[in-house]
Symmetry: C2
Subunit: 245 residues, 2 copies
DNA sequence: ACGAAGGTGTACGAAACCGTACTTATCGGC
DNA sequence: GCCGATAAGTACGGTTTCGTACACCTTCGT
C-alpha cells in the first residue's frame, strides 16, 4: 500500500497503484486502479475478531501483512483452524459464493494491515467486472483446495510436520522472517496440546530452522523449515500461486 | 428421475420434471424444466472414477442415488476423503469457481445414478440463469463448510464418532437404509486402520444401530446412529439444507 | 466340491499423542 | 528492583490409535 511507481504504458504514462494484497494486485491495472478508492486500510491487533459465524458480513478483508485465521468451533469449546489467510487471499470467501452471512469465525492471528472493502462495493465489483469475479472465484478455489489439504494433513501428519507447515506458510504470508505467535495459539489452531507444540518447536530449533522467544518466532532457515514441513506446505503454496495466473 | 406429475400452474397445466438431485430440484420450475434435456442419466459402479486431479473437467455429476467421494491423495499413497457428495450436491465444485481443471480426484463410493451435464451446458447455465448460478454457488458454500467441518472432525473426534457420522450421512444421501461399503474403503476415507473401522462397526452393531454383512451395511436405527455420531453430522446436514433455501 | 479371493474379527506390542501439572524464564508495570 | 502475569520447558501416567499379523468366514468361479 502506498507504493506508487511510474509505468510507461503503450498509450500514456500512468501512476500505478499496488494494494499489497496479491489477489487484488493480480487484477488488470484498470480494475486495480478503480478499486483503490474502495479500500480502507485497517490495522488489526492480534486476536481481534473480524467475522463471526452466523453474523452478517459487512466487509471483506484483503490482508496486506496481517494473517487471519478462519476457525471451526466445536460444541465442547475446541477451535480448529480450517483456513489461514494472508496477502494471497481474502476473508470471508462466503461473499464470493453469493452469501451475506458468515459461515465461520475469523480473527487476526498475526497483527498487521488489511485492505477492507465494504460488501456493497465487493458485490458491485463482482457484478460489474468479469476479471474481478474470476479472480475472486479462483481464489476461493485455492482456498477450498487448501482446506481440503488440511483435512488430510490433520488426519495423517505428525504434530512436528504440521507445526513446520504452519510456520512456513505464515512466514511466507507476513513477508518477514519474524512474527508474533505463542505456542498456545498455534496449539489451538492445529488442534493439539500446547506441550506438543513446545516439543515440536524445540525440535525445529535444534534443527536450526527457527528461534522462539516468548511469543516471537524467527525463521532462521526457511528451506530447513520447509523441509521439516509436510507436502501440504508446497501443495497449498502452488495452489494459491496458480490461482493468480 | 422419470417422475412426472401433473401440476396446475396459474397460467397453464404443465408436466413437472424432477431430476432426483435436490440441488437441481430446488431450481425454479422453468429453469428445472429447461435443464432436463441437458442431463444424461449415468449409472456408476462402485469405485468407478469420475474426475481425476489435474485433469480437464468434461462434465458435472449431480448424484441421484449414487454417493461420490472426493479425496486428497498424499505422496505416500494414502488417500483421505475431503468431501462426500450425494443427491444434495454435485461434483466437481471447481466448475462453479470458473475452473476447467479438476483439483481433486472423485470416484463413486456407493453405486447408483447420477445426472451428468456437459461442462459446456453447465457453463452456459451459469452464464444465462441467475437462479442456477446462485444455487450452484450456495451449494459450493455448503460443500466448503462441510470440508471445513471435516478438518475439525478428523482432528478432534474419535474413530467411532467419525464412522457413525459417515454412515449416517451416507444413509441420508442414498435414501435407503442399506448400501454397499466395505470396512476397508471406509477406513481409507476416514484415514484410519481397517481394524479400527471393524471395531467401531462392532460397537455400533452392539448398540443396535447398524448391521454389517460382508460389504453391506444396514442402518437399523438411524436415530441411534446419529446419536453415536459427532456434531459434525448435524452441522453438515443443516448446512446443505439451508443452501437449498 | 474345492480353492482362491475378498471381507471381517481379533490380538498385541509400539508409537504418538493426550490431560495435566509443575517449574522455570521473561516481560511489563509499579 | 520487585511482582504479577504470561510464555515456555518438562515430566508422567493414561488412552487412543497404529502397524501388523493371522485366523476365519463368505462368496464366487471352475
Amino acid at each position: 500500500m502506498g507504493q506508487y511507481q511510474i509505468v510507461l504504458g503503450t498509450q500514456m504514462t500512468t501512476a500505478m497503484f499496488a494494494s499489497g494484497n496479491r489477489v487484488l494486485d493480480a487484477l488488470p491495472p484498470v480494475d486495480l486502479a478503480a478499486i483503490e478508492q474502495d479500500l480502507e486500510i485497517v490495522t488489526l491487533a492480534a486476536h481481534q475478531f473480524t467475522h463471526s459465524m452466523g453474523g452478517p458480513i459487512a466487509y471483506v478483508d484483503f490482508p496486506i501483512d496481517a494473517v487471519l485465521s478462519v476457525v471451526a468451533m466445536l460444541l465442547n469449546g475446541d477451535s480448529v483452524e480450517v483456513g489461514t489467510v494472508g496477502c494471497e487471499g481474502f476473508v470471508e470467501t462466503d461473499v464470493a459464493l453469493d452469501s451475506l452471512v458468515s459461515s465461520r469465525t475469523a480473527f487476526c492471528q498475526v497483527r498487521g494491515r488489511v485492505g477492507r472493502m465494504s460488501i456493497e462495493n465487493f458485490d458491485r465489483r463482482m457484478d460489474q467486472s468479469r476479471p474481478f469475479a474470476r479472480l475472486m472465484r479462483h481464489n476461493v478455489r485455492a482456498s477450498l483446495f487448501s482446506t481440503q489439504q488440511f483435512v488430510a494433513c490433520n488426519t495423517k501428519h505428525s504434530v512436528l510436520q504440521r507445526c513446520a507447515r504452519w510456520l512456513a506458510m505464515t512466514a511466507d504470508r507476513v513477508g518477514s522472517s519474524q512474527f508474533t505467535l505463542t505456542h498456545d495459539f498455534l496449539s489451538i489452531m492445529l488442534g493439539v496440546r500446547r506441550a506438543g507444540v513446545s516439543e515440536a518447536a524445540d525440535t525445529l530449533h535444534r534443527l536450526g530452522a527457527i528461534e522462539y522467544r516468548r511469543g516471537v518466532v524467527t525463521v532462521l532457515d526457511a528451506a530447513l523449515l520447509g523441509g521439516a514441513a509436510c507436502e501440504c506446505y508446497e501443495a497449498c503454496k502452488s495452489a494459491f500461486r496458480s490461482s493468480l495466473a
